[in-house]
Symmetry: C2
Subunit: 449 residues, 2 copies
């Protein structure tokens, strides 16, 4: 048992915070800890705070809850800092997409344009990440900084390079798709073992075992016997859809979670060249995003409705079960020395994943315990997978970070020339100019000269 201080930045995210508090309620090891909620949206902050407070009271979970709109207040004395904040909302993302679509951009491997890690979103995220980590180093330098907000890949790389003294770990639940695969194969999840390393949103199942034996033959059998049936009922752009299976056949390892779904940018482009091709592969990134945004809005309204309705008990309206997110388990493992193997995003120090630069983010398994996060070396990816990762993930992120660090509009254009849908330098220039010209991007316009 340990009493720690957990600071949650972007706590107004109702869905996230509800998951967090449920996990905390179900983790008595952390009772007595302080949870300090930070958000600049005071209304949302108050609602989430009230919800969490009621849930604690109803369940008897002993947490000290605090709330503030002033980040630095909350950081003082923090042991864990969770960053889940999105600086620029989805409305701006979609307005940028509309501009890009008019210039010929499409979903499908367009990782810095037609993706939620678009350069006009990431810019504000980078700035926020830096402000937060600087505050952390100032006010609670020993705290673990837990990066949940996207872009995890570029964010961990940026911060890891610039603030090597900070204790940074990124979490992404994308790898849980291994359990989706296991469930479709009718496997008992407790008997599944796996390794799925790579870069965030680009991880591949390099080892897959069931009851100690190689489970890849079970995937092969499912592809022969069960996949067709699955594809008849699954939604478009499914993580186990025809595209994922085709990638597995071509690359020899199964792509996991967001690696090829819209959540990770629908890599690669060649399944998305036109609507007919997308239909043939049962892909619909546009519909996927529409579904995601409305799912999110619904969940937020639902959660806020519960928060605002103080006449009924929260426990009567919200199932009290673990969310499956790794944040609270990570905190418990470190704070209470409960060893766990978790999937983490860290710098590739010492070459954890062979073939990637050592000053770049990787996603790998780690042993987490009272001593902290100990990332584990893995055997590495098939060479062509590694090559595509260097080409489509590492290279653009390098250029994006260079653009950000130097405030270089030229590098931003170079980033866009790397997009699979760019057909001319002028097209890339036009996109950058048109995005920067949007009235609310004043600061970004001033930054990229």
């Amino acid at each position: 048992m340990a009493e720690v201080k957990i600071c949650v930045i972007g706590a107004g995210s109702a869905v996230f915070s509800l998951n967090l508090i449920r996990d905390l309620v179900l983790t008595p090891n952390l009772y007595g800890s302080t949870v300090s909620l930070v958000d600049i949206n005071e209304e949302r902050l108050n609602a989430v705070y009230a919800l969490m407070r009621r849930l604690c009271e109803e369940t008897g979970a002993r947490y000290k809850l605090e709330k503030t709109t002033v980040r630095r207040e909350a950081l003082r004395g923090a042991d864990f800092v969770i960053n889940t904040a999105l600086a620029a909302g989805h409305q701006r993302l979609r307005e940028g997409w509309a501009v890009a679509e008019r210039l010929g951009y499409r979903f499908g491997g367009s990782l810095h344009v037609m993706h939620d890690e678009a350069f006009w979103i990431n810019f504000y995220q980078f700035r926020l990440f830096e402000e937060i980590i600087e505050d952390v180093l100032d006010l609670c330098p020993d705290a673990w900084y837990i990066q949940l907000a996207n872009p995890v890949l570029a964010g961990v790389t940026l911060l890891g390079r610039k603030y090597p003294e900070a204790k940074i770990v990124g979490l992404c639940h994308g790898y849980k798709a291994v359990y989706y695969l296991a469930s479709v194969l009718n496997l008992d999840p407790s008997r599944v073992e796996y390794t799925a390393p790579g870069l965030n949103h680009f991880i591949w199942l390099t080892e897959f075992k069931y009851g100690g034996g190689d489970a890849y033959p079970l995937i092969d059998r499912w592809i022969e016997e069960g996949a067709k049936q699955h594809w008849e009922k699954c939604a478009p752009s499914d993580a186990l859809g025809p595209k994922a299976v085709d990638l597995y056949r071509r690359f020899g390892a199964f792509p996991i979670g967001d690696t090829c779904t819209p959540g990770g940018g629908s890599w690669p482009w060649w399944y998305h060249v036109d609507e007919e091709t997308e239909r043939a592969w049962k892909e619909d990134p546009r519909g996927w995003w529409r579904g995601y945004f409305s799912w999110l809005e619904e969940r937020v309204s639902e959660t806020l409705a519960v928060a605002r309705d103080s006449s009924s008990r929260v426990v009567d309206r919200v199932a009290l079960e673990k969310s499956g997110e790794d944040i609270v388990p990570l905190i418990e493992s470190i704070a209470c020395d409960v060893p766990r193997k978790l999937q983490v995003n860290v710098m590739n120090k010492g070459g954890l994943v062979p073939g990637f630069p050592t000053d770049f983010e990787v996603e790998v398994p780690a042993l987490v315990d009272g001593g902290g996060v100990h990332p584990l070396e893995v055997k590495g990816l098939p060479r062509p997978v590694l090559a595509f990762a260097l080409r489509d993930r590492v290279a653009p992120v390098e250029v994006e970070l260079e653009a950000y660090e130097r405030g270089s509009r030229e590098a931003l254009v170079q980033l866009v020339t790397m997009d699979p849908w760019t057909r001319s330098r002028e097209q890339a220039e036009r996109l950058v100019e048109k995005i920067l010209a949007l009235p609310y991007h004043e600061e970004m316009r001033a930054h990229y000269r």
Copy 2:
């Protein structure tokens, strides 16, 4: 002085061999050495041998000349093995280009299709490189293997990974374009110092000094005051043309030699999207190649004419001056312990160029002396340059080598999907199928399954 045995594979290349023998004649340090010429084309071999023998007799340069069509005979006891062989001739290259053009491919960053390192050329080169190095390790394991034949980048990587015990060094005269730059700037070449590291055919001027001071301001002044005039008289696709200057402006380092010219694949694609764009940048890769092929043919006919005309003296028809190639200087440095700084292509062992994989080729300066080739660490490239190198050079070569090593037609198609002119997976598949279907590619067809 040292008497060594130099084995020249592909000696039937008349232009190359004439340069080599002139350099040897002008290097008395190596007199007494044996030069063993190997070629499978006996007629060409005999002509070149006769030419070299006459030049030695006329000048009194004491070399023992041998010739054979049987490689293994020549390798016995060799101290230096020069590989300049092209397994499949330019005719096949051009026939492949014609197929590719009908499918929509263009010159401009198309490094494995519309380039002389096309996959249907490289396949035969890789096989030959491996056969030679295996013979070297069998018959003269202490010999230095000097890779001149393209692809130097992929070849050194392939051999360096697979035969770590071999002493491999690649040479490419592309970096000499630094002296072209110096001459256009009216600089005394003996006072020029520079560093131009990278990958073969992708090197950038990271340091440029004149008389000890930074000489980049001289480039900037030339761009302001002299470039326009130069562009009026220079040929299209010049190494100092508007494209090179534009790349320098955008990336902050000057691209050297084949980095952006047709000889290196006319990187990057965006200066080549259509003929109008090419004209605007004074680019004409098609014309450049046409010029190159006919220059080569003329030089070969000329040299063979001299060789076959035994009525006149060679020295009367061939200027006896050093070629500027680094092969003989390298051999002299090692054989006679004459320290020199030379530009070499070696594995990136120990991270000579930061940011590149350590099991990949790099082009760097090296100290060469009696102890061998000692590559020097460099400061590294601007991050965006490094990013484009990972994306456009490292990633495709990784996939090409994977295709070659596994005989994987699928990986070959993946390689072509990386080409900037590929617009669909089907297009890439069609190109691979159509090239493999050419009647003379029987062996390659059998290899890539």
